[in-house]
Symmetry: C2
């Protein structure tokens, strides 16, 4: 009995056209990572649940895909031990009894695990990139999938801000190659801490940053209302407001912030951490200027992003000509590997969102035309003798790297032409008995109509004709 085939919700098939676009994205990002000395690694799709649990918060734990133990997973489980007061079973505790493994949720935790596990084989500073799928049991919706690729580059074992610069350069180069205008927004976690310190509410740094992160969307007044709601005094808000309304160049903003963090704000409080953050921002922007960046780069003191991880620089990249969320982001974290037993290993990384970048390139029509083309020429199949005549010629062209197809059946020419047309094959060759006798190969450019005849051994001329 035939089943109607389908795939799990939130997952996708990628046909040749999507694959071409995706590979263009991955290849471009990969090639740029490599020119900065980042090396590829891959980790298993499955990790032990003990590696994953507790790393992404309670919500993340729920979104992990768990893998049923193989063999007799259930036979010896005492279910009654997991019965709850309302009579139902406790899925959370039960799943731990029958599942030891889960699918990778991101590339950062497996990277940390990798670094700790292989620390004695690695050369530090260790620069790695990783392009692999991750899985999250999120509710599927437009643009959100349960399986999607991340493209991450991280360096660990170096505190130098040159690493931050290089990540900005990578972003710059990648989007310049994509011909997409972006703005790279940069902030520093220490400056956010400093803001909380000088307003007198160091313990409210999360509340403050969550609020100011929304300033673009909801405006200054609403941000201040939210801070007040979270328990900040009017005096504290009066310290923060001038920071949020700072004008001027990056240098001017940093200078003004140095005053405020140095004790010149309304509170008179000093934040050493904030000053350190400003020094880092100052140095990073100095490096950016020395290196020369093509894309827009902007200091954004309201950028908060994944606050819990980061301890230094924070990055976020927005497309300027296409409406979509951030397409790349990252930052510095000082203790990622600590949880696996390797303390004091500072790292900094970025992650490119391949799915959103795909949408941007498609929306802006920026995929190069060659990307979607696959087969260059179709040789019509006119019969057994003609086929035998063609085989060595086609073999040579293929060895020269020209993607060729011979139509497999001796069907009517109309059908063979239709095949070339549907597959957007730009050249065709029809070799019949006359050509075999004359020892020639005819090639035709279907776009320009140009056609030419070549002696069958003159593959160099054929390759040249086919590459036009």
């Amino acid at each position: 009995m035939a089943q109607k085939p389908s795939i799990p919700k939130g997952t996708r098939d990628f046909g040749p056209v999507e694959m071409a676009g995706r590979n263009y994205i991955f290849d471009t990002i990969r090639s740029v990572f490599k020119t900065y000395g980042y090396q590829p690694i891959e980790t298993p799709s499955m990790e032990n649940l003990s590696t994953l649990l507790g790393k992404y918060g309670d919500e993340g734990d729920k979104l992990l895909f768990r893998i049923l133990n193989s063999g007799d997973a259930f036979s010896k489980v005492d279910f009654e031990q997991h019965r709850q007061e309302d009579g139902t079973l406790n899925s959370k505790t039960l799943s731990l009894k029958v599942c030891e493994k889960g699918l990778r949720y991101d590339l950062t935790v497996p990277f940390a695990r990798f670094v700790v596990q292989h620390q004695n084989e690695l050369t530090f500073p260790f620069k790695r990139f990783q392009i692999q799928p991750v899985w999250r049991a999120d509710r599927p919706q437009k643009g959100r999938y349960r399986e999607f690729y991340q493209c991450d580059a991280d360096v660990c074992g170096s505190k130098s801000l040159l690493n931050e610069l290089e990540l900005v350069q990578i972003v710059d180069r990648v989007f310049t190659l994509f011909d997409v205008r972006v703005c790279v927004k940069i902030n520093n976690r220490k400056v956010l801490t400093g803001m909380a310190e000088i307003c007198g509410f160091p313990e409210k740094v999360v509340d403050i940053t969550v609020a100011i992160d929304k300033i673009d969307k909801i405006g200054l007044e609403a941000v201040e209302a939210e801070m007040k709601e979270k328990g900040l005094t009017d005096e504290a808000i009066a310290v923060i407001e001038p920071i949020l309304t700072l004008k001027g160049t990056t240098a001017e903003k940093i200078a003004a912030m140095r005053e405020l963090m140095g004790g010149k704000s309304a509170s008179g409080l000093v934040s050493e951490t904030g000053l350190k953050g400003l020094d880092e921002l100052d140095e990073l922007f100095g490096l950016i200027e020395a290196a020369g960046i093509r894309q827009e780069v902007e200091m954004d003191l309201s950028l908060a992003r994944g606050l819990n991880y980061y301890t230094g620089a924070i990055f976020e990249v927005k497309a300027l000509d296409f409406e979509i969320g951030s397409i790349c982001g990252g930052g510095r974290y000082d203790n990622l590997t600590g949880i696996f037993g390797l303390p004091d290993m500072s790292g900094v990384g970025i992650s490119f969102g391949a799915d959103r970048i795909f949408d941007v390139l498609k929306g802006l029509d920026k995929f190069p035309k060659e990307v979607t083309e696959s087969t260059r020429i179709l040789f019509a199949n006119m019969g057994s003798d003609e086929l035998r005549y063609l085989l060595p010629v086609v073999k040579t062209l293929r060895e020269q790297g020209v993607p060729c197809e011979i139509y497999p059946e001796t069907s009517k020419l109309k059908k063979q032409f239709d095949y070339a047309d549907k597959k957007h094959i730009p050249f065709i060759s029809i070799v019949g008995g006359n050509e075999v006798e004359a020892g020639v190969i005819n090639l035709k450019n279907l776009n320009s109509g140009e056609q030419e005849s070549f002696t069958k051994d003159d593959w160099a001329a054929m390759v040249a004709f086919l590459s036009k």
Copy 2:
């Protein structure tokens, strides 16, 4: 509390060196697939269990990794319904209650599902390749993993033997590029059927082929003993024996087999299917001769391989200079998509075993030297001014595709040199105050000891020096 990190048994981390070798293998295979007009697709890692179950036999069903339903998987399951007579729970029926999805077990079933699901968007004959991991809950052992990559190329919607030829050509080209000598063994399922028919035991085709498949390992006598054990008469074995001991060229063997299948064997029985298989073999070897193959190709009438799937040609590839199982295999199947509701879609495909090919290339020391090299040059970090002087130079070299690193810290030169040494970086540059003043860049080839000084804008000369 620090956890000691580990990964699930049967899975692997791939560091930069293994990745380089693996990518070389994938890139080579991919590039050859493309020159034959095969196009990439990818399918989700998870399939519905209904897609996977029953496709790989009972043993295969047990080896599927199942994914626990997300949310409250257990709360409403009535476990007592799954209680068995011995008091334990039935894992097989229970797992179906709490798992709807499983991880891909191979690339063939997802391909069949893909073809049926997307049949209206595809152009037939449809040639696709797919390079993705698969998962099997096999007992891990040397060379057998629970997560491993398959590299498959299949064409469906064409019965032409040109497809078989092209797959042989692909194998030929791939291993020639790898500089590995192989033997491509070819048989035809119909000939195996014919053998069973002319010996008078058509229903014993599986027993016969399972036995003769072992002839290389256990010898003729043991094979005959096994056939006898399976119920074949001495007369039947006397019909098969001459086939197993056939000598001569492929053409001579085919001619002799035509006699036997045509009624000239001791039984006098005729097998039309067997004769059809011989016609196919004859035509395929004729095409192979016309195309010109570099590697050894051999008709092997004892080759059985995955008998249940295949209906025509069968392929298997063995390395000649390295002891290992088959490194590539495939064949024609006539009804792969039938189970998903699309009958009469003949296909033929091959699968390259990336892990074994890796072992062969490593064992024979055939990985090209450039493969493992990543960063081409390390620029020593001598301080802030020198760094700023270097940044635009390094940027330009990177844009020319040269993988460069600047050591991120201003550490002692010894430490920076050690880093280059450990990462096998072949060039180094030390730019200090004098070079900055003179406007030059010094490059040194660490292998040859050669060094040269360049004006800082002469990137073309630097690229040339670095590519030596």
